[in-house]
Chain length 218, copies 2
Amino acid sequence: MSEKIKVIKKIFAANEKIAEENAAVLEENQVFTVNIMGSPGSGKTSLIENTTLNLKDKLKIAVIEGDIQGSLDAERLNRLNVEVVQINTGGACHLNSSMIQSALSSLNLKTIDLLFIENVGNLVCPAEFLLGERLRIMTLSLTEGEDKPQKYPLMFTKCEALVLNKMDLAPFLSVNPEIIKKEAQKINPKLEIFPVSCTRGDGIKEFSEWLKKKISTL
Amino acid sequence: MSEKIKVIKKIFAANEKIAEENAAVLEENQVFTVNIMGSPGSGKTSLIENTTLNLKDKLKIAVIEGDIQGSLDAERLNRLNVEVVQINTGGACHLNSSMIQSALSSLNLKTIDLLFIENVGNLVCPAEFLLGERLRIMTLSLTEGEDKPQKYPLMFTKCEALVLNKMDLAPFLSVNPEIIKKEAQKINPKLEIFPVSCTRGDGIKEFSEWLKKKISTL
């Protein structure tokens, strides 16, 4: 086991080094980068779609799309006329900074204001790998239940904002969003929380405005 | 990277060896073991609760409960008067066979007919780690969307059955369960599919009957 731990430490250290390099390149080019993480089906792509529609007249937006395989989400995002780079992890359950480094080399960073990185659908592992981003945001679907902050605390700790999606389903669920908010902020008192419905568009304006303010600090 | 790959191969080989040992112990004691996997909030605990209520008059049931931290699900299951052993992975995103080996040593296997193992909520990593189980079952919530078989194919390949949960929400979603079935069986033509609603109990009887038949082959 000690060999395993040593290798894992080396992996994290190597990842962090490249993440710092990515961060420097992104800052130099004035690209504000957001790492979007969350369970499969929690609404990562839908959030990017909705926010892009809201902000694309004001900002030049691009997306790095992370999937184990395939390019379904990249095709969805392409329809919005934003530049999309697909990463296929080939089995890996998270993106790492070296994958992002490769992807960055195929983007014209000088022309980009806002870069979304959509991580692999996973509430656990992506939280452990910095990519060089300025902001980490997690999506959680209301349907996932009230107990997620307590069961998967690391993701809630590492993110600056929680987008609580599928609020339109609230009347049909025995899930209280207030409990999720309370438990999430117990773990991370600074966590900003945005209740949204990506299918109806509710709450997207508030989220987009918040994001725009963050970008203006770059 | 080659050092990393070597260590990963070693981890898988070590895991498989202990999984075989677990399988032998479980067979010797005539314990039918089911590994339940799926995304956070897809209904793993609810499926175990519902199936246990259906089968506990006929079979002696126990549960090994896997969580990163805490014991919320174990407390839920304890209310059903079944024996529950809690594993906390302390950060790890999946159970492995060595954790199961420890858990087995604290159960009186001679008295158990059916052992559920609830894995960590994750549609990716648990699929890679055999535990010594006889059957692998995945839960997917209808709210996760139609594209999950294409995006997370390994889990669909490794399981014998897919429990498609939260069917009661179908009228409020633009998700077609038939597309999920079709795509899942494209990846794994032998996959049995059970549409259920754990909140309403729909489909639980059919799933329990199927499981009981599987157990009778032990």
